[in-house]
Amino acid sequence: KVGQPSNALMADAPSLPLIRELLEEAPGKQRKKPPVLGHPLRYMLELYQRSADARGHPRENRTIGATMVRLVRPLANVAKPLRGPWHTQTLEFPLTPNPVAYQLVRATVVYRHQLHLARFHLSCHVEPWVQKGPASQFPSSETGSSKPSLLFKAWTEMDITQHVQRLWNQKGRRVLRLRFMCQQQKGSEIELQWHGTSSLDTAFLLLYFNDTHKSVRKDKLRPKVLEEFMEGDSSLLLRKAR
C-alpha cells in the first residue's frame, strides 16, 4: 500500500481512537499550501513554540495548562455606525461541541488593545454582548483580569471562562457574542472606515481543554522474579507462577 494516501489507509480502521480523531479533524481535501490566517496563525505559532520544541516535544516548563487549545475566529461581525468617538462591532463565535470527551478548563478572548488604522489610533476593549441597555462589563475580579499577553505584546488575553462555561452547558446551537469596542483617540469628527476593518484579525477566542480519556497506566514490573529465580529462590517463582 506504499504510495496510497494515509487517510485512505486510516479509513480502513476507523474504530481506533487516534484514527477516528485524525479522520474527524483532518480536512477532507488536500490543500497544497496552508491558508494565510494572518495574526491568529502567528499567535498560535508563538503559543506552540512556547509550549513545544522544534521536534514537537512538549516543554516541561510549559504554562499552557491544557492539552488542547482551539482558536475560534468570529463567524461574522456587525459594525455599528459611528457614535461619537466609539466604534463597535458585535462578534459571533460558534461554540461547537468536541468530537471526543475534552473538558473545557479555560476560555479567553484575545484582542488587539491598540489599533492603528491610517492615521487613527484606537484603544479597544471587549465586553459581553447584551440585547438591550448598556453592556455589562466582565467582572473585574476572578474572570475579568485583563492583562497584556505574554505571548504577543500587541494582544490582550482576557479570561472569560465563567461566561463561556455558562453557554457551554446549554443545549442546541451555542454562539458566544462579544462586543468589540474601540475608542478613537484623535478627535471624533472624521469618520473612520470601520467597515473595512476585519474583526477576524483583531479578536479571536481561545478555548483550553484537557483530555478526560487519559488512562493511568499501572504496569507493575517485577523483573526481580527472574533474579530471584536465578539465585535459586525457587519457591518464589513457584508462588508467582501459580
Binding site: 494516501p5 494515509s6 487517510n7 487516534l18 485524525l22 479533524e25 483532518a26 480536512p27 477532507g28 488536500q30 490543500r31 497544497k32 496552508p34 491558508p35 490566517l37 491568529p40 496563525l41 498560535m44 505559532l45 503559543l47 506552540y48 509550549s51 513545544a52 522544534a54 521536534r55 514537537g56 516535544h57 512538549p58 499552557i64 492539552t67 488542547m68 487549545v69 482551539r70 482558536l71 475560534v72 475566529r73 461547537t96 483530555d211 487519559k214 504496569d219 514490573l221 517485577r222 523483573p223 522474579v225 527472574l226 533474579e227 529465580f229 536465578m230 535459586g232 525457587s234 517463582l237 513457584l238 508467582k240 507462577a241
Partner: protein
C-alpha cells in the same frame, strides 16, 4: 523439578545468544508529515520522530528490558515446554507525547498534545 529447570536456563550472554547489535533496542526514525500525507493540515512540527523497537529478545530477559513476569514465563515455555509458543516480542515500553499545531476542517487552529506518539524505550513482552 524446578531445580532441574534452573540448570537448563541459559545464562545471559551465552555464545548462542544473538549478537548485541541484533538485540531488542530502540532505533531512531524520523518521518516528515509530508511523507504521511498530513502536511496540508499539520502546521508544526514538520518532522515526526516516532522511533521504533527492533531486535531479538534475549532468552534471559535482563533487568534493563523491564519485561513483565508473563514474558519471563513465556520465554521459559518456549524454551522448555512448547516451541509453538513464541518468544516475547520487542515492543515499545515508554512513550512520550507530541505537540501538534493543525488547521481543522472548519478553519480553526488547534494546538494539541497527542499521547504515546514517540517510542522512548523498548521492552520484551
Amino acid at each position: 523439578q524446578v531445580g532441574s529447570i534452573t540448570s537448563r536456563v541459559p545464562g545471559p550472554f551465552r555464545e548462542h545468544d544473538e549478537p548485541k547489535s541484533n538485540q531488542c533496542s530502540l532505533h531512531p526514525f524520523q518521518v516528515s508529515f509530508q511523507q504521511l500525507g498530513w502536511d496540508h493540515w499539520i502546521i508544526a512540527p514538520h518532522l515526526y520522530t516516532p522511533n521504533y523497537c527492533k531486535g531479538v529478545c534475549p532468552r534471559v530477559l535482563h533487568y534493563g528490558l523491564n519485561s513483565p513476569n508473563h514474558a519471563i514465563i513465556q520465554n521459559l515455555v518456549n524454551e522448555l515446554v512448547d516451541q509453538r509458543v513464541p518468544q516475547p516480542s520487542c515492543v515499545p515500553y515508554k512513550y512520550v507525547p507530541i505537540s501538534i499545531l493543525l488547521i481543522e476542517a472548519n478553519g480553526s487552529i488547534l494546538y494539541k498534545e497527542y499521547e504515546d506518539m514517540i517510542a522512548q524505550s523498548c521492552t520484551c513482552r
